[in-house]
Subunit: 425 residues, 2 copies
């Protein structure tokens, strides 16, 4: 029996086949995201992966239902696997915002689900790093959230040659729109056309724009000019002060398809432009009010960054570390009369933080050593008795095959030292 | 709009109300689990939270469907949210076992879902630490997995006064059964009665046993004698060598309800016996064969440990650390002309691993300081210029209010030192 299409099994490395997904790589990405968010003083939250369906239709209308894993549960409730985190965030923040100082800086790493045709870079589930700031209207918050986005990618060894954050402004586009069209009801259709600009045939775009009363060349020259708004300039200056200018560019091609963005919007792309967006976000000042039925009215902004496209980028750039050699000490038991003493040592070393393995059952010495090599252990340890009956250990570095003999009471400290020095390499 | 019943929102601390679930406490537990498993050289895997319904009915029969979040997806597939991890493990290991050296030591921390009436210690979802060993028939594997269970709880500061692992043996019970009943088909019913022994009225148990041809007092004296099998003695001896004897006891009250266990079974309980089982597991040597349609036949064993009962136990024992004071450096900006320099420093300190926050917009100095206190920051940092125009920093420890002045080029190193010394406290 196989798993469902568009879903992933995550295996430990070494992977059973080249197409398998790596649990180690996933965990590496998730841990870097979490670490970076914490350094930025963002606090973690999470909500249920299953929510009332209404949570999503309120925000996105009934048309979203076709893309959801939704169903009626045994309690006759219309429910859905979460396709995005923002509605849950709005619900949670709306219910508890009075208990938190503003601005609220929160992050989450949910698994999200959409019933769509699986394709490259887009499956039916993915993990998404979500970071949001609630309760700050000043564009300095945009700078903070974009800096976090950049540093989350830098924490994975990506740099300004690898990716760029394209920032844009709904305000700028809104002004462009309202100078040329008196009907605000058409704005959303117009944004949808701009959102597809880079993916659609120029002739198709041109005729769609004409139908709304716009001219393609006006749109194109507005984008080409790329005149930053005062707000965008503040964000660029702030990011410049942080030393992050190389990572960001004004690009009005970006507008974000979703209806609810209200201010600055942005997307991160690989520099070569070969992949889908790595991350995207923006300001959504009206959404919490909408989601709380008007009870809570707070400005907000945030971004989402998925693991699928990011992993593709890291593989392309060969930036994934090796996850094979995780065992620090492999204990050899060549003298079965020392099995008990070895088990005690295994327990103590693990308690001291070392990653330790050994052979469960009596095994020939050469087979034990082979196993240590196969699992990529850093060193082996073998207990023995001196002629005087004292316990001591032979510790062998597998990279150099150099061996040292250590008295029993020094084993844990010696291995702690070896560990610290190999971590520093 | 509220979340679904039996599901949890996880908030950052300080919690908005006493009943709220803490995202920080959850993450603390999950990280300790992961850390301990890694030290034991277990490797992480994961599967989809949504699986074909058949994956669960093969193992547990149609009766399990009533307890599942199952539905028909838009591709007309019968699917279910995962109620447990073992079927996914069996599927994954069955498909790829040839690529991994035996014994395979794997762990996962899935969120699991059951449609049941929510009650104390049992919701409709929970996170469960799963660890399994595949490909080792010797009971030394039981010792390894029970040691991991014990150390996962010790990593959360629980000790032998807090919990105990009650080990038992399906072999022992099978022998008891077959000596008294010639019909193996009745064995499962018999195990079900034993499984409920401690929760059911004695008279009810007695009449159920009579109906199967057993006597309650024979059952009771078998349990009271608690004569360990040779296999159990090996496990106890192995755990004793590790220094873990205080954490484990033979107790034939434990039998585990599920049909698929074949050998040693065990459950971890709080010593006071007030809560549900914290963890449970055992050997299931036939399950992988069943789940792979006979293709792969490997002995296996494992356990599951949920977060809900465990969190209750940690709260009772007051063993949860404080999660409030996470900010290491709060940067004060009293001179707006130094905002750019401060933003640069904030970025550099975060890159150096410090948790750093500051006020986004110009704010009165006393309000900034108040904010630093409110968020529990360890220290504040304020940039200033000397009369000669050089940049320097005033660093104030908020616990002692002691302040020192540091030249600009020494700031990062000084804070790294302060961090290391407070981590050592």
């Amino acid at each position: 029996m196989d798993r469902l299409p568009g879903f992933r099994d995550f295996y430990p490395e070494p992977l059973p086949n080249p197409d398998a997904w790596s649990a180690d790589a996933r965990q590496y990405i998730l841990e870097r995201w979490r670490q970076t968010a914490r350094r930025y003083a963002f606090r973690e939250y999470d909500g249920p992966p299953l929510e009332p369906l209404e949570l999503y239709t309120i925000k996105s209308g009934e048309e979203i239902v076709g893309q959801l894993f939704n169903f009626t549960d045994k309690g006759e409730r219309a429910v859905s696997l979460r396709p995005e985190m923002t509605p849950t965030l709005a619900r949670m923040a709306g219910a508890a915002e009075r208990n938190y100082k503003k601005p609220i800086k929160w992050f989450a790493i949910p698994q999200l689900f959409r019933f769509e045709k699986p394709q490259r870079g887009r499956l039916r589930e993915h993990f998404q790093f979500n970071a949001d700031i609630i309760g700050e209207a000043d564009p300095t918050a945009e700078a903070e959230i974009i800096a976090l986005l950049i540093d989350s990618l830098r924490a994975l060894q990506l740099n300004a040659q690898d990716f760029v954050v394209r920032v844009s402004s709904r305000h700028a586009w809104q002004q462009f729109f309202s100078q040329r069209c008196p009907d605000p009801a058409k704005a959303y259709d117009f944004y949808q056309i701009i959102d597809k600009l880079e993916r659609e045939e120029t002739s198709v775009t041109a005729s769609k724009l004409n139908a709304l009363g716009f001219k393609l060349d006006e749109v194109q020259s507005f984008i080409r000019a790329g005149e930053p708004t005062a707000e965008l300039e503040l964000v660029l200056k702030n990011l410049g002060a942080r030393g992050l200018s190389d990572y960001v560019t004004v690009d009005y091609n970006v507008i974000r398809g979703l209806a609810y963005y209200t201010g600055i919007v942005f997307e991160a792309f690989d520099r070569k432009g070969e992949l889908r967006a790595v991350a995207g976000g923006g300001r959504y000042d009206n959404l919490i009010k909408l989601m709380t039925g008007g009870k809570v009215d707070l400005p907000a902004l945030g971004f989402g960054m998925g693991d699928v496209v990011l992993l593709e980028l890291l593989k392309q750039r060969k930036l994934l570390p090796s996850f094979n050699a995780s065992i620090e000490v492999f204990c050899l038991i060549e003298d079965e009369s020392l099995r008990s003493e070895t088990l005690r040592l295994v327990t103590d070393l693990r308690a001291a933080g070392q990653v330790v393995d050994y052979c469960f059952t009596p095994t020939k010495p050469d087979k034990q050593f082979k196993r240590a090599l196969e699992c990529g252990a850093k060193r082996t340890l073998r207990l023995e008795r001196t002629d005087a009956g004292a316990l001591q250990a032979k510790i062998k570095e597998l990279a150099t095959r150099s061996e040292q003999t250590i008295a029993a009471h020094d084993i844990i400290a010696t291995l702690a030292g070896l560990r610290a020095s190999s971590a520093g390499q």
